[in-house]
């Protein structure tokens, strides 16, 4: 029973590796192409079920290197669901490689799971890097130049994180997160501790794409394949945020020194993301900037240093991760500006519904997942007395909703362009039973996230409590 908790990781990594090898060796029969995403999605769903069933037990593994607590349960369940839905709803003919397209999201999910369960710095870093590496691979498939750029940016981020972790280790004499927390909780913040923290979170912010550091990953995501973009904007951000949350909890009270700066960054992200989303017309950049805006809310919640803020950020992270990962996947190959999605509601109703819900959720429009998450964070901000940031966040949300309405207008009000005038970049996404099912499941998740918010938020709260926050 104890080791059943590791089954989800095992399933995911084995599936990913198997698909990689089989695909690399060319052992994939042509007919199996139709079933590979379905099999992968099913496996991940099984892993999700096992995680929910068995993951509630609080245990440690591998001599304490891996920890299963409520936080890990939340994070792993969320990322498994994200991966399953992304794989199911992706527009596979638009992807450059089937086996890599299936394997990389699974690997990235595995990376997040490792980071979520990590009890020490090494595991944290390893999980983060795995997720990032998966994204580099997928991006480089289509655009090697962008892959290289992402690799360099990622390297800088990694170096910042590593330097920070190294300094922390040097300062505390421990790599174990709970031991670090025990050491630091009785100390006052000092320069020697503050600077590594700054480097650490700077690196994580660069990874996650938090404004103004979104200049690193975001342009890369705009040029990647649909799933690649989703991976970069969604799963990698979730990985970085997961690592960041664990470190925040472990390094308390040092990160609170940077709370004002975090607030500024959050405000910049919320308002800037919304404004940028309003300024662009093309759907993928719009989704990307909406995701940046929602990341600002997550950062704001984390910066409150209240447990409720952390829980709210986790809650929002789940919603944001789903929408940011699956949104570009649903968009599929229709990425050449507004004309590509004009009238999609008439010709691809289920995909269009999913796309609409993704955009609205990222904008924080009621009554969808993003709205509940943002309001939960707003409640935490109110409790901490940060009404200025709250006001700016709501301003950003208004701009985001306006941008989302612009996309909905194109989807449902404008008529579709004629088939003969559609170029390759404006081709309609493929319709398969799996993609339709994926889109339906995605829509149900986004619509029902708030409806069934109690268990989810409860789990997030338990997760925050499990990190030792009060």
């Amino acid at each position: 029973m104890t080791y059943l908790v590791l089954l989800p990781e095992a399933l995911v990594v084995v599936t990913a590796v198997a698909v990689l090898i089989v695909g690399r060796m060319g052992w994939l029969p042509v007919l199996s192409r139709r079933f590979l995403p379905l099999v992968a999605a099913l496996v991940v769903l099984v892993a999700f079920g096992v995680e929910l069933w068995a993951g509630a037990a609080l245990t440690t593994y591998f001599g304490g290197a891996m920890l299963q607590d409520r936080f890990a349960l939340f994070a792993k369940a969320a990322v498994l669901l994200i991966a399953a839905v992304a794989v199911a709803s992706a527009d596979w003919p638009a992807e450059d490689s089937l086996h890599l397209g299936v394997a990389m999201p699974l690997l990235a999910a595995f990376g997040v799971m490792v980071a979520a369960s990590a009890a020490d710095m090494v595991g944290l870093w390893a999980g983060l890097e795995l997720a990032a590496a998966a994204a580099v691979v997928l991006v480089a498939l289509r655009r090697p130049d962008l892959g290289l750029r992402l690799l360099v940016v990622g390297a800088v981020a990694t170096s910042l994180v590593l330097v920070g972790l190294a300094f922390l280790y040097a300062s505390t004499g421990n790599a174990d997160l709970s031991a670090i927390h025990d050491v630091l909780s009785s100390r006052q913040p000092t320069l020697a501790l503050a600077i590594p923290t700054l480097l650490l979170f700077g690196g994580l912010a660069l990874r996650a794409g938090l404004a103004p550091f979104h200049v690193g990953p975001l342009p890369v995501g705009l040029g990647a394949s649909p799933l690649g973009a989703g991976l970069l904007i969604g799963l990698v951000t979730v990985a970085a945020a997961t690592a960041g949350i664990k470190l925040l909890a472990a390094l308390t009270p040092i990160p609170s020194v940077y709370a004002p700066y975090a607030y500024v960054a959050a405000a910049l992200a919320m308002v800037g993301g919304g404004a940028a989303a309003l300024a662009v017309r093309s759907p993928r950049p719009r989704m990307a900037y909406l995701a940046v805006g929602q990341l600002g809310w997550i950062a704001a919640g984390l910066a409150t240093h209240y447990r409720s803020g952390m829980a709210a950020s986790l809650f929002l992270l789940g919603a944001s991760g789903v929408a940011a990962t699956c949104g570009p996947a649903l968009l599929g190959r229709a990425e050449a500006g507004e004309t590509a999605i004009a009238g999609l509601g008439a010709v691809r109703p289920v995909r269009a519904a999913g796309l609409a819900l993704a955009v609205l959720s990222l904008a924080g429009a009621p009554p969808l997942a993003g709205f509940f998450g943002e309001l939960a964070v707003a409640a935490a901000l109110a409790q901490s007395g940060n009404f200025v940031l709250l006001g700016l966040g709501l301003l950003g949300s208004v701009l985001s909703v306006a941008a989302a309405i612009g996309t909905l207008r194109v989807l449902y009000i404008q008529g579709p362009i004629e088939e003969a005038r559609r170029g390759a970049a404006a081709a309609l996404p493929a319709v398969t039973a799996l993609s339709t099912a994926g889109a339906v499941v995605f829509s149900l998740i986004i619509a029902g996230y708030g409806l069934f918010g109690n268990p989810i938020l409860g789990l997030a709260d338990q997760g925050a409590e499990a990190l030792g926050l009060r």
């Binding site: 940016v153 800088v156 300024a279």
Partner: protein, 584 residues
Amino acid sequence: MFGTVITLLLTLLVAWGLTKKSPYVATYQYINLSIAFQGPTNFQTFAINLVLRVDHLTVIALLAVLVCVFAAIGWHQVLGRGEPGAARFHAVVTLLLFACSGMLMSQDLAELFGFWTIGGALTYLLLAHRWGLAEPARRARVALALPFLTDVCLLSGIAWLYARYGTQDLSTLVPILHTNPGWTVRSLVVASVLLFIGVGGRLALWPFSSWITQTATSAPPAASAIVQSAWSVVGIVVLYRLTPIFVASNQRALQVLLGACVVSAVVAGLLGLLGSEPRRAVALAGAAVMAIAAAVVINGAYHQPAAFGIAGVAAVLALAPARAGALLAISTIANAMRTDDLLEMGDAWRRMRASSGALLACGAVMALSAAGALAYGVSSRSKPGLALGEAVFVVAIGALRIYFGASFGPLLRRRAFDPDRVREPGGARGWPYWLGAAGAALLVASLTTGYLNFLDGKKHPQPALEAYAIWAAVVIAGFAVCAFALMRGKDGALGASAYGGVWVARGTSVLFAGLDRFLVAPSTDIARRLGDWIPAGDSALGRFATTSGQLALAAGRAPALPLVVVLAIVLAVVLALVAPGIAR
């Protein structure tokens, strides 16, 4: 049919009311709400009751209104055949009659205001009857705006009283005017002024008379006649019923109100002498007599509470039919002579004797009704008396000026007009006569104390004969002066009037232009500009948001890689410097 039924019912009501010795009161709950469970008991419930009080005053007033309406409709049947919307006209008149009955019978101020508003709306519809023409529609808007503003004052006064006393039923309000907690003399003064302005607007006391003078020529004559006569009666009765509130304020307030009535009477009378539009002159003469009557009502309350105020009411009851009759008679003449200019009229005494005679009779009644009221209510030696005497004098001149102007002198041939074809229209000539006769009868009655006693149920001593004589002499003097002036040189006299009228018209148009330029246009212009600026501001905000977004996008296109590399180098250097062992 509906109108016939209403008229019949009201006639029966009048007949029945005349037989009753004491007032009949019927109460019907319209609204009765509990609104609070604590605080002063007066304010714990809100009730509007339909309290219908039928006393002798109500009945006679109703009779006067009925007579006026009946005659005007009869006249309209013949000479108003060319007017559009006959069914609409009759429907509105019937409803106005209904509203007037409601106003006359109302004891509850909120109920009164309800009927008052209905009457006001119907009045506008009557005066704006000729929808299809631009000029009548424009003039009718004054008849809507000005009285509505005074109606707002009436509403404010009623609401002010309610706010202080928690009741709007006159029977319960008057006894507690000085006893309720929270009352002050100031609040009563404010209420009195507001109520007076509200009623004065509908009485068309100068300076609120423009709504009847502006529409005197643009509205159908029967409509003007009905409106002027009906509102005269209703307004004066309501004013009379509100005098206990005025009395409860203070003497100074009453003096001011009295002064306002006196000024209004004098100015309206003088204005009636200027200009050559006969219908406007009739309207102004009537407005002057109304002001005199209002002064009598208030003076009666000022000196001896409500003693002779009823004389003013009685005067108006006589004035109303005469006013309507004068309007219809001059309209008949104007119609036949196809002109609204006294300078172009003439010889009506020979060609249209019936209408001309009716005009004379009605004019005389108008002037004498004022004298009758003054005989009871105002001393000729007092300052108001002197001023009112001048007003009566001027009214008398004005009333007869119209008669002389229309009835004598040559009727000149004009383009497309043959004087030989001017003759009395059959079927319509009797109505102004009947109105004159009714007015005369009521005038004679108003000179007897028995009639006044009948009206208000109180005992009134008979004024001295001298008083009658003095005031009648003033009127006769006015007649004489007018006759002399016009018989000696009709053209000169009327020309002078016309010349004065031109200046008055210029002054009025300057005033209206000034009002329009400095009040109406700037207000509406501000509203229009705001209506443009606000969307422009919104658009600017939207552009700002879009520009901010584009800036954010541009920032995203910044050369990230070099920046990040530089940042990493800087941080590495900083770290190296602060690392232990390097810096102390």
